[in-house]
């Protein structure tokens, strides 16, 4: 009996001392409140703003600025690129056909990707500002960090201004209230003031891939260049003035040096998103989205090149708009593709030769070899799926072209000649006698082909609304995209952009 009683006591005691601690113990990650205390930790936080520029993919969408679908969106609604349907390939619910024909709806996945790319970046920067604000850093030390962070954020808002216009402005990480639209004018003002306020604190040196004073000047110049398109107020002279603040860059003698695998050495690049597959960067595989499946045998005799998806190509007419002497023409790949192992033309599964043609016989059912391909960024045998070339956002050539365009628009085409001469000299071409807007428009296509500029340029020149290949006239309201359906569904405070059905 005694032993039985002892057992009872032991059990009772066990229950009394038993544990009920339910706090989570972390091992391989850190609670936000425990991070951001040392300068190194603060640097690691701020670095997140830059890594956000490479975008992300999640269960909802891919949002890569260099590939799917942010890049796709800007390209395929413009007059330079297209993603034709080939058999079933690249049909994907018709999203590329709708984009080509300017009949997109708010459900288009590419539009959602672009929206999420921007707002994920903005939210991340808001959280970093919040985090660093709590770090105990002095206000003086915070100033340059915050200025840099806010400039990156302003870049995202600039894109939203360009793509969607009337978007909500959110700057407070802690505020989870559902925001309302701001007018396009307000967004414009916000971008301008954020950049202007940040300017004094931004580094004035040339720091590759960083948001320096030169980057802020370039973004402001872009803003003023498109001011008429964005808010109806032309600011051509402001654009020129801003361009003239930019210093320290020269054109690379070789146009393609800007797109080499090691393009970080370019003297021309003002802003780029750096990529390095060894450093684990993802989302840079545009080349694989354009070449034919069998292109690998034209790169390596053993086929030691990544799989390619045979997607995006140039619209008919783009390739022939390049003079044969124009060095930039080889940014496009046309003609027979030679199998390096056999020395003869690659034969596709259909038994036909792989010869890229400018013509696309049927947009809805194109042949596998139709359309000339993007060939701007360097490719090599043995490339990883995640490419190492940096994705160029702003080149010095753009600063030259902006000034050239503004002088033409200000009716002083002669003043634009020195800028255009630099561009043409490198391209192996000559500036024509008559410099007009139509020439500027075509020159922009040739200089910046497949750099994601074309939609904005088309809108600024008004060509966006005119018919082109596989597209009729475009309604004016399509100058901005609709706010994505899933965003409207989850935030009932938002209104759809006018013209689009609610």
């Amino acid at each position: 009996m005694k032993i039985k009683n002892i057992t009872l006591i032991v059990f009772t005691a066990l229950s009394v001392f038993a544990c009920t601690n339910l706090d989570e113990e972390l091992f391989d990650r850190v609670k936000d409140e425990n991070f951001g205390k040392t300068p190194k930790e603060i640097e690691a936080l701020a670095g997140g703003a830059y890594s956000s520029l490479r975008g992300f993919s999640d269960a909802i969408s891919n949002a890569y600025p260099a590939s799917e679908y942010v890049f796709f969106l800007n390209e395929v609604v413009s007059d330079e690129a297209t993603i034709p349907t080939r058999g079933t390939d690249w049909y994907d619910g018709g999203q590329y056909q709708n984009a080509q024909r300017h009949t997109w709806t708010a459900d288009n996945g590419m539009i959602l990707s672009a929206w999420r790319y921007c707002y994920a970046g903005i939210a991340k920067i808001n959280s970093i500002i919040y985090q660093i604000d709590k770090s105990g850093l002095s206000e003086e030390d915070k100033k340059p960090i915050f200025s840099e962070l806010k400039s990156v954020r302003a870049y995202y808002y600039y894109m939203l201004l360009d793509l969607f216009g009337n978007v909500p402005i959110v700057t407070d990480f802690e505020d989870l209230g559902l925001p309302e639209n701001s007018s396009r004018q307000d967004v414009y003002n916000f971008v301008e003031s954020e950049l202007l306020e940040a300017l004094p604190y931004l580094p004035s040196n040339i720091a590759y891939s960083k948001f320096t004073k030169n980057v802020a000047y370039s973004l402001l110049a872009r803003l003023y260049l498109n001011s008429e398109a964005f808010i109806g107020t032309p600011r051509w002279q402001d654009c020129i003035d801003m361009c003239q603040n930019i210093s320290g860059y020269t054109l690379e003698p070789d146009y393609f040096a800007n797109f080499a695998t090691q393009n970080e050495k370019s003297t021309e690049t003002i802003l780029a998103i750096p990529y390095d597959s060894d450093a684990g960067t993802v989302g840079n595989y545009m080349s694989s989205m354009s070449y034919h499946y069998l292109q690998k045998f034209a790169v390596s005799p053993t086929g030691d090149y990544q799989w390619s998806a045979n997607g995006m190509c140039a619209q008919p007419g783009v390739y022939s708009s390049f003079d044969d002497l124009d060095r930039r023409k080889s940014a496009l790949l046309e003609g027979d593709q030679i199998n390096l192992a056999t020395g003869s033309v690659i034969i596709m599964d259909s038994g036909q030769p792989l010869t890229y043609t400018e013509d696309i016989s049927n947009f809805e059912d194109a042949k596998q070899n139709e359309g000339v391909r993007l060939n701007k960024y360097e490719i090599n045998a043995g490339d990883q799926w995640e490419r190492d070339n940096d994705f160029v956002l702003i080149r010095y050539a753009e600063v030259l072209m902006m000034q050239a365009e503004c002088y033409v628009r200000l009716n002083s085409p002669d003043l634009s000649r020195p800028f255009l001469d630099q561009i043409n000299e490198r391209a192996g071409m000559e500036t024509p006698d008559i410099i007009d807007l139509e020439y500027i428009d075509k020159e922009l296509l040739r200089e910046f082909i497949f750099e994601g500029h074309r939609r904005t340029d088309n809108i600024r020149f008004g060509t966006f609304f005119q018919p082109w290949w596989e597209k009729g006239t475009t309604e004016a309201y399509r100058a901005i995209f609709p706010i994505p359906t899933s965003v409207l569904n989850t935030n009932t405070n938002l209104n759809q952009n006018s013209g689009y059905p609610n």
Binding site: K4, T7, L8, F11, L14, L22, D23, E24, F27, D28, R29, K31, D32, F35, A44, G47, G48, Y50, S51, S52, A59, I60, S61, T85, G87, T88, D89, W90, Y91, D92, G93, R116, A120, A123, K124, I128, P168, V170, F173, A207, Y208, D276, S277, G280, V282, Y293, L294, T302, D304, Y305, D349, S350, G351, G382, S486, V487, N489, T490, N491, T492
Partner: protein, 978 residues
């Protein structure tokens, strides 16, 4: 009594005197009787000579009674001349006359009452056992003899078709792939829908830690009144596995079988000659004939896939203790080359009584090692794509390699890589039971579960997929988890007259930690080392090494009370309070109550007239709330920073550094999903031949966990794990067992289960989060269907609703005729599922079969959808049937490709002969067993049985066609008893 009388006194003065009189008389009578008392003690045995604990001893015509203790002993003081009635549920009561000359120590042997078999069946109910007859909840039980036999590589499979409402799915014929279990429809969108597994009282363990040969019985707790005792882990039902204990004496047992398997089905693709015929007829001059004659599906398969299994166990026991040990080996080759499962498992269990049976120690140890070679499922799509004229090997004996999308030689993929995985499972427990003060039992259960997996992969520099481009790729991974549990509970059992009282209360604490690491390298100068020397790989990238660790705790308090009167009226109530570290700060603790009642109608006097045919009729009703917390990973409620490959470039130093970024939207309100369930059940027994039960239930799951989309802005990331939606499952289950003939020579019995479930999403939004539609059933990865979905999750529809264009066939051009609007065009939820089996024996011969079926579920035959493509020929192969299909349109997702995948599978057929030994405790049985001998279905794909669970691809037949094997095996069982 005193108070009551005094109240009466106040109200009714007149009666006061008569009451006093009665009381006086009553005490007088007692005094008189007391003078003629006699103390009787004794022991109660069953017909096998085992002592019966808990038998009732009642002095007839009085309230004087007692029950036998754990050794079957009792002591009672009774009046001389009275009768004592000894009874025990399931046994025929004995009446004994007590005279002055009666022996004061008696031995009573009760005979089994064959009329109410379920009364003696003991059912595990969680933290204790109950007699089946006393159950108030919906619990199905199955004993070891009734488990599905055959080449079982996952313990789940032994339940296939056996339990009404339990669906067991193994999606492929790959022996190394596990099975999923789902009871009464799924309750969750994100969280696991697998029932909680309890082995010998240890909750939450991997079911495969126990081998089928070690299982004595399995009890499936279905409704909330039964599972609420497991609180936040009970919503998907609970499967309680009790392993074999020891028998008295010494016994030795050997089980072994060897079998041959082959793929049960293939897709009929064009042969090389059919392809050539097509090319000639259509004058396709560009078509390339590679000169071979290859059936790519067959090329992936073994000529003979062998399976062998050997199990040896021994047990020895006596009154005070015993032990049982077993060891088994299984090697099951899959029909596809390289696939197999090799398992070595052992178990050891022992118990010991001390201090005159006051204390019992019970310990068990289960361990096994699995080895297998994971398969790259991409080979199947390629086996349908490749032109049949391509030979497997070229003239130089090298693998033929023809470029093209999804066109790599699948035999090369299968051959040119090494994938070797291993898993160790371990479960150990030590249980101490103390019996004291007659009615109390205290239990302390300490347990440890450890599960560790290693993975090894090497793709040599000549391997076409991921080998060449990486110049050799090697990877090693390791992951493990450890769960420690302490459980202490106190049981109280008391019989007062006809009342049976049972109460239990306890506490449990669980600590689960997991950790792992991995490394990968590319760029090998030589392929000689495979994955054994990763340092020889010269390419280093971020993410090539990683490690992780996490931990969670679960603390619980629980209690249960049962009251049964005369085995006629039964009430049970349970409550559990669970606190989990995974829950958000605002919801750390959840409470899960339940209550249920039962009425054995046949125990009533008015049922005497039906006694001859209706031997048992019992009505049960219960309600309870249970939870599911599986969908909440660790740290999901917190605001945390991680380093998810987020590097940034520093131009000053030309280096990359890691950024620390917030990883998720924090949710301090995060909590369990809670399921309310009502269950009404009827148990019956007819003519002593047919037993069965009918269950009706209605489950409503609230606070559905899902990673809901949230608006950006303002949220940091696009989704948040939150508790929002509601879904319901309603259903009916019928279980029938019939002993058609039972005599000395012939034993013929059958069993049938039927289950029907209707599921509906009731809500997907609340005040905070709005969701209209969740797209699921992704078609991503199929040509032209990037980011396209085949299914929706939407209010008013069940999970797995196909959403697309209705097709009314083909027009004259061979184009699909499609509706204008997308609608619901099918559903993966079956209308009903059945299981049917039979056992027949005649003298020493035995014959039996088991089968199961699922009816009314729709499956998207995406394999055919993509293969019936006029653009494929001549480069890509097509099914024979395509040529006559008339289809002249590119693959389009519509109802055209949704098929009714109803099927009935003949799962096992066995024929055996038992050679009797002179010693009746020994025997030898030899048998032949056929598995998956036939499937009755109209489904056009390789196999109608595809995964119906989960959200990513339920009900999709999508190039993952590892055909289920048909297996024939020969085995023998040898039992030696001493």
């Amino acid at each position: 009594m005193y108070n009551k009388n005094s109240q009466i006194n106040f109200s009714k003065g007149k009666t006061k005197k008569s009451f006093v009189l009665i009381i006086v008389l009553f005490f007088l009578t007692l005094t008189i009787k007391a003078q003629e008392k006699k103390t009787i003690s004794g022991t109660v045995y069953d017909n096998l000579g085992v002592t019966l604990a808990g038998a009732t001893i009642l002095e007839s015509q009085t309230n004087n009674g007692t029950t036998t203790d754990y050794d079957g002993q009792f002591q009672i003081e009774v009046s001389v001349g009275s009768e004592i009635v000894v009874s025990y549920i399931g046994y025929i009561s004995e009446t004994i006359q007590v005279t002055s000359s009666s022996n004061s120590f008696i031995k009573i042997t009760l005979q089994e009452d064959t009329f109410s078999l379920d009364a003696i069946e003991i059912v595990a109910v969680g933290y204790g056992t109950m007699r089946k007859s006393d159950l108030t909840g919906a619990i199905s039980s199955i004993s070891s003899e009734d488990l599905v036999k055959g080449t079982v590589t996952s313990t789940e499979q032994v339940l296939q078709g056996k339990i009404a409402g339990l669906v067991v799915t193994q999606d492929t014929g790959d022996p190394s792939s596990g099975s999923s279990l789902r009871l009464r429809g799924g309750t969750s969108l994100t969280a696991s829908n697998n029932p909680l597994i309890v082995v010998d009282g240890i909750a939450g363990v991997d079911i495969n830690v126990v081998q089928p040969s070690d299982i004595k019985s399995i009890d499936i707790l279905k409704d909330a009144s039964a599972t609420a005792i497991y609180g936040s882990r009970g919503a998907n039902g609970v499967i309680i596995i009790t392993t074999k204990g020891t028998k008295k004496g010494l016994s030795f047992n050997y089980n072994g079988f060897t079998g041959v398997s082959y793929a049960s089905n293939h897709l009929d693709m064009l042969s090389a000659n059919q392809w050539r015929g097509y090319v000639r007829e259509n004058n396709l001059t560009d078509a390339i004939d590679f000169g071979g004659n290859t059936n790519w599906q067959k090329e992936l398969e073994r000529s003979t896939a062998m399976t062998q299994s050997h199990t040896i166990n021994m047990s020895s026991g006596n009154e005070n203790g015993g032990l049982r040990a077993s060891i088994s080996y299984l090697k099951n080759e899959g029909t596809v080359k390289t696939t197999e499962l090799e398992r070595l498992s052992t178990s050891l269990s022992t118990y010991q009584y001390i201090l005159d049976k006051a204390i019992k120690f019970d310990a068990g140890l289960f361990a096994n090692i699995d080895k297998w070679h994971p398969l790259d499922y991409r080979i199947f799509e390629r086996s349908f794509n490749l032109n049949p004229t391509i030979p497997v090997y070229d003239n130089n004996g090298e693998f033929t390699s023809v470029g093209g999308t999804l066109y790599e030689n699948p035999v090369e993929i299968l051959t040119n890589r090494s994938t070797d995985n291993k898993r160790n499972r371990l479960l150990g427990y030590f249980k101490t039971e103390a019996n004291f003060l007659n009615d109390f039992q205290a239990v302390l259960n300490l347990s440890l579960e450890h599960n560790a997996s290693t993975g090894n992969t090497y793709k040599p520099s000549y391997a076409v997929l991921e080998g060449r481009s990486e110049n050799g790729y090697g990877q090693k991974t390791y992951g493990e988890y450890t769960t420690m549990q302490v459980e202490a509970y106190l049981n109280y059992t008391k019989t007062l007259g006809k009342s049976n009282i049972n109460a239990m209360a306890g506490y449990s604490y669980l600590d689960n930690s997991y950790e792992g690491f991995g490394a990968q390298r590319s760029g090998f100068v030589t392929d000689l080392f495979e994955y054994n020397n990763l340092a020889a790989g010269q390419d280093y990238r971020l993410g090539d090494v990683y490690s992780y660790k996490g931990k969670s705790n679960l603390a619980s308090l629980f209690a249960r009370a049962n009251y049964a009167y005369d085995s006629k009226y039964m009430v049970t109530a349970t409550i559990r309070k669970d606190g989990s570290s995974r829950f958000g700060a605002n919801n750390k603790w959840g409470i899960f109550p339940s209550a249920s009642v039962a009425w054995r109608i046949t125990g009533e006097n008015f049922m005497e007239s039906t006694e001859n045919w209706l031997t048992n009729l019992k009505l049960r009703a219960g309600y309870g709330v249970t939870g599911n917390q599986d969908g909440i990973g660790e740290y999901k409620s917190l605001s945390i920073l991680g380093v998810g490959g987020d590097s940034y470039y520093d131009p000053a130093t030309d280096t990359w550094s890691l950024a620390y970024s917030p990883a998720q939207n924090p949710n301090p309100d995060l909590k369990w999903e809670s399921t309310e369930q009502i269950n009404i059940g009827l148990d019956f027994s007819l003519f002593n031949k047919i037993t069965g039960s009918i269950e009706w239930y209605n489950k409503r799951t609230k606070d559905l966990l899902y990673t809901y989309e949230v608006p950006q802005p303002p949220y940091l990331v696009g989704t948040i794990l939150a508790n929002v939606g509601e879904l319901t499952n309603k259903g009916l289950e019928v279980t029938l067992n019939a002993n058609i003939i039972q005599n000395d020579k012939i034993n013929w019995s059958t069993n049938l289960t039927f289950a029907q479930n209707t599921q509906k999403i009731e809500k997907l939004s609340n005040q905070v989060y709005e969701t209209d539609i969740i797209y699921s059933g992704s078609l991503h990865g199929l040509s032209g269907m990037s980011n396209q979905f085949s299914q929706i999750i939407k209010e008013g529809y069940p999970v797995g609703t196909f959403w697309g264009y209705e097709s009314s066939g083909l027009d004259e051009n061979g184009e699909f005729i499609l509706s204008d609007e997308k609608t619901a065009i099918g559903n993966v939820q079956p209308d009903f599922t059945i299981g049917f089996g039979m056992d027949f024996s005649y003298n020493n011969f035995d014959f039996g079969f088991t089968s199961y079926g699922s009816f009314g579920q729709d499956v998207l035959n995406a394999t055919n959808m993509m293969l019936y493509d006029p653009n494929r020929l001549p480069a890509y192969n097509v099914p024979d049937a395509f040529l006559n299909s008339g289809i002249n349109s590119a693959p389009t997702y519509s109802s055209y490709w949704i098929e009714d995948a109803s099927f009935l599978r003949l799962q096992t057929v066995s024929l055996g002969y038992t050679i009797p030994f002179k010693d009746s405790t020994s025997k030898l049985r030899i048998y032949v067993l056929g598995e998956n001998l036939a499937v009755f279905t109209n489904y056009e794909g390789v196999d109608p049985e595809v995964n119906l669970t989960g959200l990513s691809n339920p009900g999709m037949d999508r190039f993952n066609n590892y055909p289920r094997p048909t297996t024939v095996s020969l085995g023998l069982n040898l039992n030696l008893g001493y």
